[in-house]
């Protein structure tokens, strides 16, 4: 071997250093110029994916099968949020944990959007609100995305945020928001048509997640498995519920998957009420996730299961 072929330690060090710097630069450089968004719940992320189209990258912090009231604030969420331009909050005190994530991200330029702005909020408490009422949200029931009409308001809030974040693509976002409205108009008639046989039906729900859904599709919530929001049932309350189910002839009980199934199963055994375990949030954060969630829920409730939700 020629002496000139023997690499000096200095040369090896220089090449290694260049490689490390290049690799580091590759890792930290933005992969694309897409607008990055974070959302508290999958439904907001899905609507953002629809309105933003190919110009956005969006992720949801809570998942379809996790309780959106309680999300553990992890540094990994903070680092992800440190890179986004827009954070979509559900608001109405549902996702108070999001504030700690946003704060911890130290993101100076983040645009925080309260997607509940403009929503006609149901169950706004009157008088003194304290823990004697359970986990009542002082500004009203926060599960508003479960009325598809409120999806239009969320889409409008997202469109305005995207226009501000990326004015160059405002025309695309405006067009997609318009298409979202048209898609809603096409689907709502079909959904209402399918739900028509259940119009006025008495139902029980575990938590008060389904108030907007019931309002949109004419279901009548006559009782909750929880005696107060966020408070697990007592034996006495369950016994009272058995009587109520019988008197009100309630035929369906909707339960969120993150609550224990033993109490709904007890009610099923006592009264024959049919238990539906439905996620109040959509499974996919893709552009079709929000609409498909209603397809699945309505399919399950009307006996035509299309996947995802299971009775």
């Amino acid at each position: 071997m020629k002496i000139s072929q023997i690499k000096s330690p200095k040369s090896i060090f220089t090449k290694t250093a260049i490689s490390v710097v290049a690799l580091t630069a590759f890792l930290f450089l933005p992969a694309s110029a897409k607008i990055k968004l974070a959302a508290s719940i999958p439904d907001l992320a899905s609507i953002a994916a629809y309105v933003g189209g190919d110009e956005v990258e969006v992720f949801s912090i809570s998942k379809a099968n996790s309780n959106p009231h309680f999300v553990e604030v992890l540094p990994s969420y903070m680092i992800k949020v440190s890179r986004v331009a827009v954070f979509l909050k559900a608001g109405l005190a549902l996702d108070q944990w999001a504030d700690a994530i946003i704060e911890g991200s130290r993101n100076q330029n983040i645009q925080v959007v309260d997607c509940s702005a403009g929503v006609d909020v149901l169950e706004k408490p009157t008088g003194k609100v304290d823990a004697s009422l359970g986990d009542v949200h002082p500004q009203g029931n926060p599960h508003y995305w479960l009325d598809p009409a409120n999806g239009l308001i969320i889409a409008e809030n997202v469109r305005a945020a995207l226009d501000k974040a990326d004015p160059a693509h405002a025309a695309l976002f405006d067009g997609n928001a318009k298409r979202f409205t048209e898609e809603y108009a096409k689907r709502i008639a079909n959904w209402k048509n399918k739900m028509a046989p259940l119009n006025g039906s008495a139902i029980i729900t575990y938590h008060s997640s389904w108030v907007y859904f019931a309002h949109a599709f004419g279901l009548k919530i006559v009782g909750y498995v929880e005696p107060f929001p966020g408070i697990p049932p007592t034996a006495k309350h369950l016994q009272e519920l058995v009587e109520k189910i019988k008197t009100e002839k309630a035929g369906m009980l909707i339960q969120e998957p993150y609550y224990a199934g033993s109490d709904p199963d007890f009610l099923n055994r006592q009264t024959g009420i049919k238990v539906f375990r439905l996620t109040p949030a959509c499974e996919s954060t893709g552009a079709d996730g929000y609409f498909k969630h209603f397809d699945d829920m309505i399919g399950a409730l009307t006996g035509v299961v299309t996947g995802g939700a299971k009775p």
Partner: protein, 369 residues
Amino acid sequence: MFTIFKINHRVFSRSISTVRGLRAALLFSTGLPLLLFPVSAGVTNPDLSAIGQVMGGYTDSAGSKNSQDPTLRLGEAEIVLDAYLNPYLKGWFTLTGGEDGIGVEEAYTSVVKGLPWGLGLKAGKHRLDFGKVNPSHPHAYAFIDPPRSLTSLLPGGSDGFNETGLQVSDLLPTPGDWASTVSAEVIEGKQFHPGQDYTSLGWTARWANDFLIGDIGALETGLSGASGQDAGRDADPAYLYGGDVKAKFYLPGASQLTAQAEAIYKRGHLSDSLPTDLRADNRFGWLASVDYRYHTQFNGGALYEQWNRLGDAEKTDRAFRVFAGYAVLEESTLLRVAYERLLEEDRAGVNSVSMQLLFSMGPHKAHQF
């Protein structure tokens, strides 16, 4: 009160000159006390929370004055106040009250936005960022009492490593779900030399890395270091080195499994009154625990720890605990029980049972679901 502040704010924010003119006129007409008028008082009150605890216990330790007698007492109560001071700063106070009187456990302010490069600043008294267990408030411990290995090795003992400091931290620009935070803090250093009247600053530093394990869990790792004078101002400083790891797995039905471990090595000094060759306090300790939480309301787990004994580092003491908790209805009320078997080398084993009933009001809960 809220309305009064709003009116004051509106009146006095019209213009500075109007305010000054009005205050001058009022001062001349009514006297000095109006100088105290709250020109720029905040318009909202801070979040206010209170946490109380009823503690019960039983031990067969011959060294305890309550040996083989069940005890019941009101444990340390906490009042927590926190709020934004302005758009860039937050403030936090934790006041404690118990059999030892009333104290300020924490009082600090932190910059939450406005600094470049992901920097953060924190100033004041707080539980220091050393390891995973120490920064948490004891009421959050599933195993009730602080681990013996930590109280033996860390300054502050059972009160926790908790000092006044000035901390700088940075959230590094890492890719993907990897969050990497480095922090360094100058501290008062008083807990390194309790009962001595000299002052000597110390420091702590930590590098924490956090990863998401897909949608099923999270992994946290950390390396910590600290230093301070424990044997006089002019002696060599004491050093603490720590490593920790915590894995959490999210299971169906809002259940969770958490496993964590922490190790600490201390290189310090014992009392100046000892002969030089007996002064070294070089000790090691570690702990490991698992905690399974079922459907948010129930949890149970175990903790094992061992550490070199203070004053006799050749000896290794060990303790094993099993614990269980039940959230009564929801997160504001929590009942915990723990059994501990303490095995000190060359001493008889000690059995202890602890009970804790935690109750909280306000946004800062006894524990988080």
